[in-house]
């Protein structure tokens, strides 16, 4: 096992331990009457296909980074922009709502995330290294915005936001580990084909979502 591979495994294990500890801490401290809100937050990426695919794509992109230090740095960019997004997303939403109709706001966030990840996946792995910090920042902010827009009530927002952000991170870490596992079995070229096809799925789906969301007036009356 090479040194960088050992380093990567160490990063995955530490990240998994942190996420599991936070989840366990959350479960132990959550009051019984708001357990449902925490559950909804935890299940958020599972029941939102757009978000789920976008997060998996981000995990696949991160899995291409072989340098443990850069991997951690990019994940730190994601985590810090996620924190910023969860804290400050309200101001962004207020600005955003002045431009865009409320009804279409949900797909727009996932559409943008899917589009960014899809384009990044079409690039070769080496070129992706330069895009990763931008993708990470956009993803953190995007997930923060998504959680805020999906949150039920202001009073429970903190619980919902924390559990939503946590489960988003868990999906990303699981995707990185899974993508690395598949890369162990596949050759680099065959994995690159699958990555690019996945990227084209995301772009195509995002284009359709954008068409449905941004131009609802295009839809004929049924």
């Amino acid at each position: 096992m090479t040194r960088s591979r050992r380093g990567l495994y160490a990063v995955y294990i530490i990240a998994a331990i942190i996420v599991c500890s936070l989840a366990a801490g959350l479960w132990l401290s959550v009051p019984e009457d708001i357990a449902d809100y925490v559950n909804n937050g935890l299940m958020l990426p599972v029941f939102r296909y757009g978000l789920l695919f976008a997060l998996i794509a981000y995990g696949v992109i991160l899995s291409g980074e072989r340098n443990p230090v850069l991997l951690v740095a990019n994940f730190a960019v994601f985590a810090s922009t996620l924190w910023f997004g969860l804290q400050r997303a309200e101001y962004i939403v207020v600005t955003y709502e002045s431009f865009v109709d409320l009804i279409i706001r949900f797909p727009v966030v996932t559409t943008a995330m899917g589009m960014i990840a899809g384009i990044a996946l079409l690039f070769p792995v080496r070129a992706r290294r330069w895009l990763l910090p931008i993708v990470s920042a956009c993803y953190g902010l995007g997930l923060g915005l998504f959680v805020l827009l999906e949150s039920p009530l202001d009073y429970y927002y903190d619980w919902f936001a924390f559990s939503g952000g946590l489960s988003g991170m868990a999906v990303i870490i699981a995707s990185i580990a899974l993508a690395n596992g598949v890369q162990q079995i596949c050759t680099r070229s065959s994995f690159a084909i699958a990555e690019r096809i996945f990227g084209s799925w995301l772009i195509a789906a995002s284009l359709l979502l954008a068409a449905l969301a941004i131009a609802p007036q295009l839809i004929r009356p049924t």
Partner: protein
């Protein structure tokens, strides 16, 4: 074991990795095919979108053919063809959503099956731009057929996600089939398969004309 059907700048795939790709893509499709014929009445969400390209034999064959043809041509075409198809298909879908009428949609889809089948049957090593142009033209009609139905879906966003994912999975299966059949009997098996696809396409195209 390296299957050395593509040498030099092309693709090198181990048999194991091909099986992983093929089984993975089939696993995506398998649970859905079991309930593929339940779709009557209104279109639903993700599952409905996912099953749509699979239960439509013309769509299914065309998308498989894209993967097989790309794998048969080798090199960059292995991924450029299946990547181009959904991207242009999305553009066709947007045309369908917007309500712009395209003529001869069903005939064009049937022709796409016929032409792609012929290309595989004759092992046509088309210049990349011609192959991409052909794929793009056909993809517009396939996307249009999906796009027209999209606004009627209960959950259009999930429906579109489902059919794009199914399309990609079918492409992956097509690539897997193309790569697996490229070696035995000097690729004659995939050419035979191409001939069968072309005949099916001809049957679909002749359907509206024949009494």
């Amino acid at each position: 074991m390296i299957i050395g059907m593509f040498e030099g700048p092309g693709v090198r795939c181990t048999a194991k990795s091909l099986w992983v790709l093929a089984i993975g893509a089939l696993a995506c499709l398998a649970p859905e095919t079991a309930s593929a014929h339940l779709e009557d009445g209104a279109l639903g969400g993700f599952q409905s979108g996912f099953t749509h390209p699979i239960i439509g034999v013309d769509h299914l064959l065309a998308m498989l053919a894209v993967g097989i043809w790309g794998a048969q041509m080798g090199g960059r075409n292995v991924w450029t063809l299946p990547v181009t198809f959904p991207l242009i298909m999305a553009a066709g879908g947007i045309i369908g959503i917007s309500g712009i009428a395209l003529p001869y949609v069903e005939l064009s889809i049937a022709l796409s099956v016929f032409v792609l089948g012929l290309a595989i049957g004759f092992a046509w090593k088309a210049p990349e731009w011609i192959a991409l142009l052909l794929i793009a033209i056909f993809a517009i009609f396939h996307g249009y057929a999906h796009g027209v139905e999209l606004p009627q879906a209960v959950d259009p966003a999930s429906y579109s996600m489902g059919f794009v994912v199914a399309t990609g999975a079918i492409h992956l299966v097509g690539i897997g089939i193309g790569l697996l059949l490229a070696r035995p009997w000097k690729g004659q098996l995939s050419r035979l398969l191409g001939g069968a696809i072309a005949l099916t396409g001809l049957y679909f195209a002749a359907g509206p004309i024949l009494p």
